[in-house]
């Protein structure tokens, strides 16, 4: 094993180009577990800790460009207004110690269906900034996850940042685990209201081979809100519509039975979380989130 310590982003890209099999390690919260438990022996470890740029973010008018290594602890504390869904998800990651090290870039790199940041990225709308010595490309989150623990990165690419749409309405995140802290998701759900475009977006974690959006549920709800004039009136979402939204969200799942939970439970729980997060976000929208319309 060789330990590569690039001092700059350019050096990191060069190292990755030279050693495409190199495994990037930032917070180490996934990679080191695999090494400690003898499940993985990469030829090269590519340490990204020395690259300061990766720990910074820029807040633009429409999006936040979040450095790949910004730890969850900072997201949950400092980006609550801009990225409320992701901030909520960040707060559910592992433990305080893990949140001081783990990052969205790591979550994307590992591409586990259970990664906590995927659902809010899908719900908010995000593009992964992948870079190599060949250049930069922006991969929409929906296209980034290609299979269980597989992603769209080319062997020579590294994740530089994630460009996440700034919230224009309330967002929520919920995750089920069989413990009240420090759990890997049995399943997770994120919902973002987008009053500006009068759309809603969702993200589901750990209930399919990859993180997915519940598009039918989104379309249904957007139509129901539109038809009912809810965006203007702020009237509560009719329970029948909320139920249908929840059913459609569950329908978007393609879960498995595993040691963490049954497929049936996962579908059921996603439906419950969809209904609840809809209630919470809509309540927030009614209570003041509607200002976002003219923001």
């Amino acid at each position: 094993m060789e330990f590569l310590r690039p001092g700059s982003w350019e050096e990191a890209l060069a190292a990755k180009a030279e050693h495409p099999a190199a495994v990037p390690v930032a917070g180490g919260t996934d990679v080191m577990v695999e090494i400690n438990f003898d499940r993985r022996r990469p030829e090269y470890l590519l340490d990204l800790n020395r690259i300061g740029d990766l720990y910074e973010w820029e807040t633009g008018e429409d999006e936040v460009r979040l450095g790949a290594s910004v730890p969850y602890a900072r997201i949950m504390e400092e980006l609550r207004a801009e990225l409320p869904g992701l901030a909520l998800a960040a707060h559910t990651v592992g433990s305080p110690q893990i949140r001081n090290r783990g990052s969205v870039g790591g979550n994307l790199g590992a591409a586990s269906p259970a990664g906590d940041s995927h659902p809010p990225l899908l719900a908010a709308g995000a593009r992964v900034e992948a870079e190599s010595v060949r250049g930069t490309r922006l991969i929409p989150a929906e296209e980034f996850y290609t299979g269980v623990k597989r992603n769209a990165l080319a062997p020579d690419e590294l994740i530089r940042a994630v460009r996440i749409a700034r919230a224009d309405g309330p967002q929520q995140f919920s995750k089920v685990g069989t413990r009240n802290a420090m759990v890997i998701a049995v399943c997770a759900f994120s919902l973002a209201l987008h009053p500006r475009s009068r759309t809603v977006r969702t993200g589901i974690g750990s209930a399919a081979p990859t993180p997915v959006r519940a598009r039918a549920a989104e379309d249904f709800l957007a139509a129901a809100l539109e038809e009912g004039g809810h965006w203007e009136s702020g009237r509560p979402v009719p329970p029948s519509a909320a139920r249908r939204f929840a059913e459609l969200a569950a329908g978007a799942c393609n879960p498995i039975d595993d040691v963490r939970g049954s497929a049936r439970y996962r579908r059921h729980a996603v439906a419950v979380m969809a209904r609840r997060t809809l209630g919470w976000t809509w309540e927030a929208y009614r209570a003041g989130g509607r200002e976002h319309r003219c923001a």
């Binding site: 094993m1 330990f3 310590r5 390690v25 433990s95 305080p96 090290r101 420090m182």
Partner: protein, 192 residues
Amino acid sequence: MRVNFTVNGRPQQADDVWEGESLLYVLRERLGLPGSKNACEQGECGSCTVRLDGLPVCACLVAAGQAEGREVVTVEGLAEHARRRAAGDGTTARAPAGTSLDEARRWTPAPGGPGAQALSPVQQAFVDAGAVQCGFCTPGLLVAADELIERNPEPSDADIREALSGNLCRCTGYETILDAVRLAAARAGEAG
């Protein structure tokens, strides 16, 4: 490979480090600082919690090479860390902290136990409150609890629970650990 970093205010160098080694392994097996514990090596128990440039992290998940040039505080340096903080000395200059194996071996029994006068408030509170049984979780809990009180001198019970939610204890049921953190915070409040 060679790794240089600062532990408890003292520059340290480790040679012939295998690239897959963790910071925890280097501390325990190469630097003679076994205080940070190896309970799970997967970031689930917090027994190896150390401060890395001030932040509590699981030393088992930091690749040894990632510690290069950085500052680490372990349970062995906690008392000195607390003393410096109390003295308003924010710097992390060299300090004779930590306990080498040789030092540990040279230690001889004395009434009141070793370093009885030298414990940090949170260490003393853990002893006083009965928060220590087998003690394997204790070093990590101490580092996490000390950092909590540093950040939040008057934590609510929910704050304490959240801050310590990454530190598993199998013996105590956590009640005496909560007592200890409350006690340490209260004493710090009185002293302040």
